[in-house]
């Protein structure tokens, strides 16, 4: 290959290093290291503490205990009640109308509407606790459960299923 660099006069150019394979190999190694390594940030803590402090807050607020109860109040209306405790207990009740049959598009729309409500609640009460307890009436279709889980999963990924009795008591 180096012969290619000879000019017709017979004099040779200074031999140059073929950089292409080297650059390729380095690129490969970079990709390999990027994919195989994990980045960890270490923090430092100095012990013992230089002073002892006392907290003026004696009681922690009670656990959030976010609960979602739902029922189909009519074939195409999904009624949901979100209730929570924490520092300022409250609740939100809302009815969502969806198109029948509950196909992919209709389910996606219902999930989006419900997610907007859940996100609003999440902004109010925060997402420090990641758990939501879901309870639906006993005859609620499985599809509604999946759609509800789709809607709450973004803000509250830890989903606990409660018995239908809770929904029947709350709604």
């Amino acid at each position: 290959m180096l012969d290619d660099f000879e000019d017709p006069s017979g004099t040779t150019n200074p031999k140059s290093l073929n950089l292409m394979p080297i650059v390729d190999m380095i690129t490969t190694i970079i990709f390999f290291l990027l994919l195989s390594s994990s980045f960890v940030q270490f923090t430092k803590q100095t012990l013992p503490p230089t002073a002892v402090s006392t907290s003026s807050v004696e009681k922690h607020p009670p656990a959030l205990n976010l609960r979602l109860s739902g029922e189909l109040s009519s074939p195409n209306v999904y009624k949901v009640r979100l209730s929570w405790r924490g520092a300022s207990p409250s609740q939100v009740t809302k009815a969502f109308t969806f198109a029948l049959p509950l196909d992919q598009a209709s389910a996606a729309q219902l999930a989006q509407d419900l997610q907007t409500t859940v996100d609003g609640v999440a902004k109010t009460i925060g997402t420090s606790e990641k758990t939501v307890k879901i309870s639906l009436r006993r005859n609620t279709p499985y599809q509604i459960l999946i759609t509800t889980m789709d809607a709450v999963k973004k803000s509250y990924p830890d989903i606990v299923l409660n018995t239908w009795i809770e929904a029947e008591n709350e709604l």
Partner: protein
């Protein structure tokens, strides 16, 4: 390279035919292979879907993982890995002997899964019709937890 170099009958010494640079191509292929090996998902799970079951629709596009499957169909909860089924009437009756026996066999299976093939917290795939009532789904999940399957995965379709 000059095309003049390839001419015959010239005074210049004969040149070698042009070579295809293979080294960069091999390097790139190696890189693609490594990328695919590290980034690909292997062992996609198979879900046996009975004809009478229509899966619920979901906007979640997470892939199904390899796990034992239980199916709610034809009025019974069927576990393919133990080849046994439990009628819904027994599923909802917490005191039924049939339910207790079913849990015992399931527990035996879940406790004997070899560590080498265990994935996470003993997951199980639950296949049920979109119209299945919440009560039955809840009772199925409760039964599976009782039998040692701590992680129930609800199989749904993403279109």
């Amino acid at each position: 390279m000059n095309f003049d170099d390839l001419e015959f009958g010239s005074d210049r010494p004969p040149q070698e035919p042009p070579e295809l640079p293979l080294a960069p191509m091999i390097d790139i292929f190696c890189m693609i292979v490594i990328f695919l090996v590290l980034g690909g998902a292997f062992g996609a799970a198979d879900v046996i879907l009975p004809k009478s079951v229509t899966l619920p629709k979901s906007v979640n596009d997470e892939q199904v993982i390899v796990a034992p499957q239980v199916t709610l169909d034809n009025g019974a909860l069927y576990a393919d890995f133990i080849q046994q089924s439990l009628p819904i009437a027994s599923l909802t009756n917490l005191n039924s002997a049939e339910r207790r026996d079913f849990i015992r066999v399931l527990k035996q299976y879940s406790q004997n899964v070899p560590e080498s093939v265990k994935t996470g917290e003993n997951p199980v795939n639950l296949v049920a019709d979109a119209q299945a009532p919440y009560e039955i789904v809840y009772q199925s999940v409760a039964l599976l937890r009782e039998a040692g399957f701590e992680n129930t995965l609800f199989v749904s379709s993403f279109e």
